[in-house]
């Protein structure tokens, strides 16, 4: 059985005047230890799909099953890593951010939570910053703390919503490598959303291509040996003149 089964899910939201369909009958399955990437241009509803898996958005139709159980509300078995730098609690130190996540979700008692926090801070090479407050960290460091926090929770699946999109190119490449190393170490299951084709090929084991307005599944392919040009053709039907050509 797949860890995560998204079946015929349609997501819509009301923008005040009309109902907008963000994703239309999207179906995919994620197996354990997979790094499943949802790739598509802005407006294809990929973030909304991730939020639905997180339990923040209710599907208008279809079902989302995690370990065979329907996803209803957000919970610590699906931990989010966001793109925004303000996802760390600014009133807690790096270490306390992770400890709080563990104790608030009743994953671990306080003492063990602290030990686990330090272990994961070490994994992302931030040991000397364990007792500093987030506002003193750079963007890349903040994202590393967020990733360490998410991994320390030991969720069934990590939900990553373009976590490196706000970083500069160099930091981004380093973070991708670091994420791959951490995933190889602990066999995390990752559902990763991005609009960057190179990032999808680099991070993913499998890639789901979504087209836009509304988001529909265009294709699902193996990341290994995937051809960026072919992905681009699939995403845009060869029409690259509308300014959506993805340059990375």
């Amino acid at each position: 059985m797949s860890l995560l089964a998204v079946d015929g899910v349609t997501l819509q939201y009301n923008n005040g005047t009309q109902t907008v369909i963000a994703a239309h009958r999207v179906t995919f399955k994620v197996d354990r230890s997979e790094r499943f990437v949802i790739l598509g241009p802005s407006g294809c509803g990929k973030s909304t799909i991730l939020k639905a898996v997180g339990g923040y958005v209710k599907p208008a139709e279809g079902s989302i099953l995690l370990n065979g159980k329907p996803v209803v509300v957000p919970g610590p078995d699906r931990i989010f890593v966001f793109q925004e730098f303000d996802q760390l609690l600014p009133w807690k130190t790096v270490k306390d951010n992770i400890t709080f996540a563990l104790t608030a979700s009743r994953t671990l008692p306080r003492r063990e939570a602290e030990d686990r926090a330090l272990t994961f801070i070490d994994k992302v090479n931030l040991t000397q910053f364990a007792n500093t407050y987030p506002h003193t960290l750079s963007g890349g460091m903040k994202q590393r703390v967020a990733i360490a926090r998410a991994m320390a929770m030991g969720p069934e699946i990590l939900l990553m919503d373009e976590p490196f999109a706000a970083l500069d190119a160099l930091t981004r490449a380093r973070m991708q490598e670091e994420l791959l190393r951490l995933c190889d170490e602990s066999k995390f299951t990752v559902l990763f959303v991005t609009h960057s084709i190179p990032e999808a090929i680099r991070i993913g084991t499998r890639i789901l291509l979504l087209t836009t307005h509304p988001g529909r599944v265009k294709a699902e392919l193996d990341a290994r040996g995937a051809d960026p040009a072919q992905i681009e053709r699939l995403l845009f039907d060869g029409k690259l003149d509308d300014g959506r050509k993805n340059v990375e």
Binding site: V73, P76, E84, P90, W91, A101
Partner: protein, 256 residues
């Protein structure tokens, strides 16, 4: 030495005190304007006689009662406003109506409703605190970023835990602003209320101390009382609130 802000300010204070002393000596009219040294002597003797400390204690006790009651009501109002749309409308209407109304203007009617005594002053103090605290707290809650909200929900916290451990700290810069503004309103309102109605409310607070000494033409004591009002205001606003700010929003890099 010149680069130390404290040193510069102490120097300025010394110059102001010297100017006061010089002008009052030149004026030589202790009934209108006592010298700085006479004021200091009056201050020390009022403190040692225990009259001034009693007045201060009385005023601060009353102030704390009103402040805490105001905070409690502000908490209720904010909770109601955050929970329902009707509550939000109610908060908006009430604050826009009552915020521009100086609390002291309510004292005459409060004296009729609650009689002479602490209760009418507490009522006025609540009015001084309530609106600014409720408005700022509510605005602070609303301004908590969607990302932070989602992070909080991700941990599966209960509603109470989510409010106290995510929303309140995230909104704390705004809440602190509300507390400061509320305190400033309450402090000025209380001194004014004691000054004008101190005798009728039977209070022995700081405002009443000033008023009574003026009646007896003990002008140095009047100045000593005014100095005490200034000093207490400075202590609370610059020492207590500044310290709270330093260990919270400033350390968190959240100050607005």
């Amino acid at each position: 030495m010149w680069n130390s802000g404290v040193a510069r300010k102490v120097l300025l204070l010394a110059i102001l005190a010297a100017a006061w002393e010089a002008y009052s000596r030149w004026l030589a009219n202790p009934l209108l304007f006592p010298t700085f040294s006479d004021t200091l002597i009056a201050l020390v003797s009022s403190i040692t006689s225990g009259r001034l400390p009693r007045a201060v204690g009385f005023t601060l006790t009353l102030l704390l009662k009103g402040y805490i009651a105001g905070l409690a009501l502000a908490g209720l109002l904010t909770a109601f406003a955050s929970a329902t749309r009707l509550g939000a409308d109610l908060l908006e209407i009430l604050t826009s109506m009552f915020n521009p109304l100086p609390s002291i203007a309510l004292l005459p009617i409060a004296l009729i409703w609650f009689g002479l005594g602490d209760n009418s002053i507490i009522f006025v103090l609540i009015h001084a605190v309530l609106w600014s605290v409720a408005l700022n707290t509510y605005a602070g809650f609303r301004a908590v970023s969607p990302t932070l909200r989602m992070v909080g929900q991700n941990y599966g916290l209960s509603t109470g835990g989510y409010i106290t451990r995510i929303l309140v700290p995230a909104a704390f810069p705004s809440i602190l602003t509300g507390l400061k503004v509320g305190w400033a309103f309450a402090w000025r309102t209380l001194i004014a209320a004691e000054l004008v109605f101190g005798v009728s409310s039977g209070s022995g607070g700081l405002g009443w101390y000033i008023f009574e000494n003026k009646n007896q033409l003990l002008i140095p004591n009047v100045f000593a009382g005014l100095l005490t009002v200034i000093l207490l205001g400075l202590v609370v606003e610059n020492l207590i609130f500044r310290t709270v700010e330093n260990v919270t929003v400033r350390r968190w890099g959240m100050q607005t």
